[in-house]
Symmetry: C7
């Protein structure tokens, strides 16, 4: 009811406008866009981070590698997204350039957080300045600078570091399951098993290990896993 009133009053027409209750409705709509995307799940385990991204329906005309949802930012740092893919690409490209600049300037790998913060700052600006829409994409970053790190950024440009987290479709359900089942002393096999258990429960009949793009960051390197790597767990 109140939502409809706020819509009729036009509080939801620009990211630069607060509604009377203090909400920024354009940002909330963009969050719905992010939730229209397929799910991704990240889990930190003892020696690394696991990221599992659901490609949902697979179009057999599309070449697999091209639709892969796991994007390399740097050799120790990857990102997955949910929402508008082209918006994500712009942010990922920016992150890559930033990582390369860091390597050129300091001859070392950039910290995961510094890259995440830069992406989050760009997102924040697009919710505050007029003349453009917010980036319609939630993002999850997995990186390793000594220890494994998992970050998530929302539309508003907030970011937090997680033991485990999910973005996209059913994110709340997946997070609920992570909260009840995640344990800090998991190894890689345990993390994969947990991810598969969750997706089986979410996807039910539609579960199929071939739906997923999967990678781990271990020993400071990204390693992509194949369907068979999931099945043997």
């Amino acid at each position: 009811m109140e939502d409809i009133q706020h819509q009729q009053m036009g509080y939801d027409r620009a990211a630069t406008m607060f509604a009377p209750d203090g909400h920024i409705l354009q940002v909330e709509y963009a969050e719905k866009t992010a939730r229209l995307g397929s799910s991704s799940l990240g889990i930190v385990y003892n020696k690394g981070v696991l990221v599992v991204a659901d490609r949902r329906h697979r179009d057999e005309l599309v070449i697999d590698e091209s639709a892969n949802k796991i994007n390399e930012i740097d050799e120790h740092l990857l990102a997955v997204s949910s929402g508008i893919t082209s918006d994500a690409r712009v942010l990922i490209e920016r992150a890559r350039v930033s990582a390369q600049n860091h390597r050129i300037s300091y001859d070392s790998a950039p910290s995961t957080e510094s890259i995440v913060r830069e992406v989050a700052d760009v997102k924040q600006q697009f919710t505050q300045y007029g003349g453009a829409r917010p980036f319609g994409v939630a993002m999850m970053f997995a990186g390793m600078n000594g220890r494994p790190d998992l970050y998530t950024t929302d539309i508003m440009g907030n970011y937090l570091k997680f033991h485990a987290n999910a973005i996209g479709e059913n994110d709340e359900k997946i997070k609920e399951m992570l909260r009840s089942k995640y344990k800090k002393d998991l190894d890689r096999a345990g993390a994969i098993k947990l991810a598969m258990t969750i997706f089986k429960e979410i996807l039910k009949d539609k579960f199929d290990v071939k739906r997923f793009d999967v990678a781990v960051v271990e020993e400071g390197k990204i390693k992509r896993l194949a369907a068979k790597d999931l099945e043997k767990n």
Copy 2:
């Protein structure tokens, strides 16, 4: 019903606005523009890529070469489009300049994907920043850097690599037929036969090999095919 409400509320007036359900309606309208254009179809086969573009009704006052729908970006890279032709021309011109710059800087052919990504990035920007409308055009790129590649970009600036794909009028029907009939081990003759079979079914009485602009990219070169090349298959 909901669409009409969203129109009355004005969520569809700018590409910089999300509707309450997370959609960007101006982009969806521009996609309709792209679908108003005539069909083009691309097929990757063992040694190259085939592109067949339907010119639809031919105006006998127009000089054929001028209405040719197959645009050369570089000697190994072509593009076809569906939607607003002048919008496509601007993007194709930009792709050409980018390809030339690559050749001047690196003395080698640019990768198909790098050119596609640049065009897609421009498209994305026009869906995010105000003060201009999105480019009303879907595009298909066929190129060859060692192996044959077929890419498609949509209004939003997304792009994917395909085994075979279609843009423009009836794109969904053509894609459905490609999904059921496309095989990865096709040769050029097989690809042409598949394309003709599909267009015969789509166009029925109106089918005529003279309707089509056709080219293949093989051995890193674009070769334009004539009507007789289609008939003999």
Copy 3:
């Protein structure tokens, strides 16, 4: 009916907005402006191009040479327009400067198409960027670089090369007659005869050879023709 709905919804207020059916209504309105202008007709014949522009009602207070509708861009290249004359003048002036720059830089005549493309690109920009209206003018270019060429550009910035074409009032009727009567092996006299035949049928009682500004491009030069040159055909 749908048009009125689209007007009431305001989809027709800016060239930067797509209507729900994918149309850009401001551009369609500007096309009406172009059709409010008087007719011009172009015909390519064996050794050149003929352009006949109807001045419609002649104001005896106006000095003829000042109202002449045939504009020289370069010695081998002319343009006629239909719609807002001052808009056309701006584009013609730009074309002239571009032609001069080409001569200075390369010491040769610019190709007709390069000049046409530049004008068309400007037109396209004014349909995509906000803060200005589209150019309300259709244009026809006749030029000769070795062979005679006839181009037409519309509001949207599309251009094509024609054997024969018309712009302005009654353009569709004239084109229909050209389609049925045009032959590729015409000579100059035949082209003039065809043009006069068509205008007689269009203008009926109002036909008068003095209504027309006429020129041919032959041997790489523009030659203006007088009323008597038309009559003797």
Copy 4:
């Protein structure tokens, strides 16, 4: 009826918007402003150009020379205007600077048309770009480069060269009378007589030679005429 609909739909709020019938209503409204101004009339005769500007009601508090409607651009070139006087002043000042620049650069008098075109180009821009209103002024230029020339520019930035013409209040009536009475072999006395005849018919009881600011351009020089010069004709 249609006008009122177009007003209610808001097509008449910006010069950058076409109405559905292709008209630019803000420009048409500005033309009304131009017609609210008092009349001016120009006549080319065998050795020069005559310009007669009606000052309409004369405020005895105003010093005559200050309200004089005939503005010198250069020694061989004058302008009168109808509509918003301050808008005209801006354009006249620009014309003067342009004329001076020409003299400095080329050490010769600028052609009348080059000055007219520059003013017309400025007017055109203010009908195409947003963020400003069109210049609300019609202008008439009389100049002499070898031969006498009379030009008129409208709101839209169109200009034409005339044997004789009028701007401002009753412009259509005056032009009708010019069409029926103007002859090309007039001398100065004949031109003055024709002008007075026309104004007598237009102004009837209100006719008074003291209402007019009058000048001729002859032998490349502006000469202002006094009331007595009119009466003796």
Copy 5:
């Protein structure tokens, strides 16, 4: 009635919009602002110009010199205004800087008209370009370059030279009285007497010589007059 319609249609929301009858309503509203200000009256006499400005109600908390309505632009040039005082101050400051620049560049006093034209040009711009409102102020300038001059500028940026004139409250009434009583051969005493006669008739019971700020420009210098100088006349 028509006014109300134009208001409801929104033609009066921006100085950059013409109403259907050719009027610019924002400018007309600003003229009302100018008429809300207190009256000033100027009279040219044989050896100078007299300016009398009514301060209307005097606040005894205000220090007189600070509320003085007569502003010196240069030693030979003063200005009074009616409307928004801070708008006037900005224009007066600009006029002062311009006068100083002239003295620095040419080592002579600037002409009254050149200063008036500069102020008027600024006013005109603020009625043509969007993003700002017109200056809400009418101004009267009295100066002396050899002979005494009196100018008035309106909101629109028009200016004229006067024998005598008034701005602000009751300007039309005062001008009517000036028209019937002003004579060109006045001396200073006669001018003061005329001014006092007029204000007595306008102000009736409220007339008091202490209400007025008064100055003359004579022999190229501004001289401020005191109440007693008015009484002795």
Copy 6:
């Protein structure tokens, strides 16, 4: 009634718009903001200027010096404000920088009026140009360049010099009392006594000398007074 009509018509939405009666409603609304602030009172006396600023309700959690309403611009120049405190801070900071620049450039104290004019000019600009709101603050400046001076600026950017004046809540009542009780030959004790008398009458039961921030400018220096300095008067 008329106000409500003007609100419904939208004349009060921008400081760049005149209402049909010539008022600028956004400025009038901002004046209400200024009147929502607590009162300040200034009195010029024989050897200086007294400023008394009411802090109204005192929050015991706030550190007094931080809420002090008397701001030093330069050692001889202070300002108090009423309205939006952060708006005032921006203007005061600007005044301070300007005063410092003057000292650096000329090695002397800036005149009070030059600083006041600069602040007033900034205020004026924010009522004329779009894209920002007016400064919501009235300000009072007390300074001494040889003689003591008291200035007040309003929202519109007007400023005047006063014998005594008030801004903020109850400003009209305080000014009325100043008009009836202020005498020009006051000494400091007399000025303080007058201020206290007025505030006692305004605040009645709520009067308490601890409510006030008080300072004088004497001998070219600001001296802050404590509550006990007020009581002994």
Copy 7:
């Protein structure tokens, strides 16, 4: 009632618009955003400043250090915020850069107030200029330059120095309790005890020392306290 009228009239759509009663409604809405955030409380005691920030509900998937609400600006200066976290991050980052620049330029710690003023100035600008929304965040700064200081900034860019203060949810209730219980001669233990007493009363059953991020600034250094440090008090 009046609020609803102001909403319907649209006075609450931009921070650059005053409502008829002088309020800036967008700023008031943003203040609601700030109050939607969790509470933070600051207390100055004899040797330092205590800051206690409630994290409210803790998500066990989030890594604690990442959600820590106490941000270091410089070694002697921290900030907590309530409202939009990403907005706060932008301001905190700016404060950090400013502090570093001060250290580089002057080789000393910046004063707490200079950093607070810079943040407050940025906030003020975003309430005055269009094209962006205000920062939706209240902030509390605790610093030590010789003596301990506690500052708070609101949406509007106002700031004050406090003995003790609160921001976020229940800020008014907490401030009320601080007013009745705060004493100036507290030591650290007393300050912690006061903070815990208040939060126990506010949170009732939900009180848990693990909810809080706590730090003190003492001897010019930030020291973070653990849950056990709170319990032992």
